[in-house]
């Protein structure tokens, strides 16, 4: 899995005008990892769901992911399910969904 290079990510983020307040979405058991969503940046493309499914179940089925994206107007919603452990069990720095979001809408703090 190739991560976005940071210069490219910056370029990408600059292409959108919408700024929004990050919504707190999910934290791990001891509170050291938290995922935030910038709701106005989310395009509901579900690439986070695909990334999650690939990492955790090795399938391409977005329905087996540990989060759900709901396309609503004007802003989309992301819901993390109970079984999401922020990829701690995989021992990676960055959860798959955060890493694969093409618009930088999911953030790890």
């Amino acid at each position: 899995m190739v991560a976005f290079r940071s210069a490219r990510l910056n370029f990408y983020l600059n292409t959108t005008l919408f700024e929004s307040k990050p919504n707190f979405e999910k934290e791990n058991s001891n509170g050291s990892r938290r995922i935030f969503l910038m709701p106005e940046r989310c395009t509901a493309c579900m690439l986070c769901m695909v990334a999650c499914a690939v990492e955790h179940t090795s399938s391409l089925n977005p329905s087996s992911a540990r989060l759900r994206v709901e396309n609503k107007l004007p802003t989309a919603e992301v819901i993390f399910l109970e079984n999401c452990d922020l990829c701690e069990s995989l021992g990676v720095d960055m959860p798959a969904c955060v890493q694969k979001c093409p618009k930088g809408a999911l953030r790890l703090r």
Partner: protein, 610 residues
């Protein structure tokens, strides 16, 4: 089947709610020739309809077909909605994006076929283990977006829906099928076919996995493709910011922006409806279809009667046809008109052309508009005409038949202002100074639509006014390449807008299905589909006489802009058409020859149906 395909097609008779599941893998060589999507649609429509089938009768079938790549994380899954078109009377198909394609495949079918008809409106609920017709009285009469909200409340927001609005219920001949707030299978009036069957909506509620032959290979290719898309910084940055809206500025620059019912090709008020104006004034967010890193869709805010609504749009086509083509230079009026089209569930391209036609005819004294002022850019006129069309009230009853029929009914020489080919209203490119694009409209299999070939881009870069052989060759290649995406069941924008090489799609197909096809073979399959859709139309009376752009293009020179005084030369158009038929292996009358059909391996199929 190793992957990509599921191997099953669901056939539902809406008359009594009975259904059967066809396992097409028993004859898989016959089916795989047609790839999927619109290819499967063409095969089924060739076999199950005939010369005299009424498009709005019970014998016509509506095919919702996904392709082999639909439902896999290839950017933008598409469903091809195929049928005999009530607007043109011939083959019609239109692809719709969003999430519906994903959910259809997750229900465990490659396609859903709807036949028969019923009196009382119902909706079809399909999931992994259930197919059911349910009472739709609570959503009948509602707008297509409201109906969708209602169904999502009922079945959970994870479902995908295809709905029709009041226009589809009232059999407006250019009604469309709406998915996912504002994705439309716009052209050719598939919504009217769905309305004629008494079907208000289809709900897909599946969670199953779509099989794939070589998962690792596909993932690697997708990752590489994403890198390639993003590497193309300028195009990618612009396209993900503005989507198709950025075409408006380009169309104005190269003078092909339809203005005031295609009378002119440059619009003095283009600034007021341009992409940057939309971004500054009404844009509220961006959306992408499933698995698409580009996200070209725009969400805008609409103010209508003091209330706020959200619109999935505008797109270039709606900006051109509901904007410049109606003389609208105010972005608020533009998005209001677009929102009404989405709400009523009718094709914004056809609606724009029809309203433009009505205003021009009224100005020339051929028609009265029930007391509305026939002025370009008049918000009241445009919005009330759209409403009258959707409910077939007053003059709307005539306009709801599309420009071809409306011009026949009104008479008095107004067919000179009816912009259509084969009955389908012309989409957003003015072609008097673009012979190649005129040919593209003339020879497109559904009518005057740009999705088979937008050679105008190539023309404006290479040879704008030429009518040579090279242009016709490019045209045919484009018709095969572009329509292949509807057969594969994915969006073509990563290829045509952000320049992802075409080989990637061949790679995706091979990785997903495990079937080894070369680029040449896959384009051959696309040619096969194109010839079969042509035969469907030929069986219903189409020949050379129907392959001409609208009269206006030949008769009236352009009154303004850089191509002032230019019109399309009839003789050179005839020459191009001859070359086109020759290169396609069709007769001089525009009918595919026996040899051609044999070469493509569909002679037997065609002979059985004729």
């Amino acid at each position: 089947m190793k992957g990509g395909y599921i191997g099953k097609i669901l056939v539902v008779d809406v008359g009594d709610g009975s259904y059967k599941v066809i396992d097409w893998t028993t004859e898989k060589d016959e089916w795989l020739k047609f790839i999927g999507g619109r290819g499967f649609g063409a095969k089924m429509i060739w076999e199950h309809t005939g010369k005299y089938t009424d498009p709005l009768g019970p014998e016509n079938i509506l095919v919702l077909a996904a392709g082999p790549l639909t439902g896999l994380p290839v950017p933008g899954p598409r469903i091809s909605v195929c049928s005999l078109s009530p607007l043109t009377g011939i083959w019609g198909d239109s692809a719709v994006g969003g999430y519906a394609g994903l959910k259809l495949k997750q229900c465990g079918y490659d396609a859903v076929v709807i036949k028969g008809w019923r009196k009382k409106f119902a909706y079809l609920y399909v999931s992994d283990d259930c197919v059911e017709l349910r009472d739709a009285s609570h959503i009948v009469g509602k707008g297509s977006i409201e109906a969708q909200e209602e169904l999502r409340k009922e079945h959970g927001s994870g479902v995908a829906t295809l709905t029709i609005g009041p226009a589809g219920e009232n059999l407006v001949l250019f009604a469309c099928v709406t998915s996912d707030y504002g994705r439309q299978s716009g052209r050719t009036g598939t919504g009217a076919v769905m309305g004629s069957k008494g079907l208000k909506a289809v709900v897909f509620d599946g969670d199953a996995e779509v099989p794939v032959a070589d998962r690792e290979g596909l993932l690697r290719l997708l990752e590489e493709a994403k890198e390639r898309i993003i590497e193309n910084r300028e195009l990618f940055g612009q396209f993900s910011r503005y989507g198709t809206m950025m075409t408006l500025d380009w169309a104005q620059d190269v003078a092909c922006l339809p203005t005031r019912n295609f009378a002119e090709s440059v619009f003095e008020g283009a600034e007021g409806i341009s992409a940057s104006t939309v971004e500054m004034k009404v844009m509220r967010g961006k959306r992408g279809c499933f698995a698409c890193p580009i996200a070209c869709r725009t969400i805008s805010e609409v103010k209508l009667n003091g209330e706020t609504f959200y619109l999935d749009g505008p797109e270039y086509e709606t900006m051109a046809l509901l904007g410049s083509n109606l003389g609208v230079s105010n972005v608020d009026d533009l998005v209001a008109a677009h929102y009404l089209c989405d709400h009523y569930g009718m094709d914004a391209i056809s609606a724009g052309v029809v309203v433009g036609f009505a205003i021009e005819c009224a100005q020339r004294g051929l028609l009265t508009l029930d007391g509305l002022k026939p002025e370009w850019g008049n918000r009241d006129t445009i919005l009330s005409l759209l409403e009258r069309i959707a409910y077939r009230r007053g003059i709307g009853g005539i306009l709801a038949e599309g420009v071809r029929r409306a011009a026949e009914i009104i008479g008095g020489g107004c067919e000179n202002y009816a912009m259509h080919v084969k009955g389908l209203e012309q989409s957003g490119y003015e072609t008097r100074a673009a012979p190649g694009m005129s040919l593209a409209y003339g020879t497109c299999d559904v009518g005057a639509h740009h999705n088979r070939s937008t050679i105008i881009g190539w023309e404006s870069r290479n040879d704008r006014l030429g009518t040579g052989r090279e242009k016709v060759e490019v045209q045919i290649l484009l018709q095969h390449q572009r329509s292949l995406f509807d057969a594969l069941g994915v969006c073509r924008f990563p290829w045509c807008e952000t320049k992802l090489p075409f080989e990637y799609y061949v790679g995706f197909y091979v990785a997903a299905t495990g079937i080894n096809l070369s680029e040449k073979e896959i384009l051959k399959a696309s040619e096969r589909i194109f010839n079969l859709t042509r035969m469907i139309s030929v069986r219903r009376g189409v020949s050379r006489k129907d392959d001409y752009p609208p009269k206006r293009v030949f008769n009236e020179p352009l009154p303004s802009g850089p191509f002032k005084g230019v019109k399309l030369d009839a003789e050179s158009y005839e020459r191009m058409l001859d070359t086109y038929y020759e290169l396609r292996g069709w007769s001089r009358d525009g009918i595919p020859t026996r040899e051609k059909l044999e070469e493509l391996g569909i002679l037997e199929l065609v002979e059985k149906g004729i």
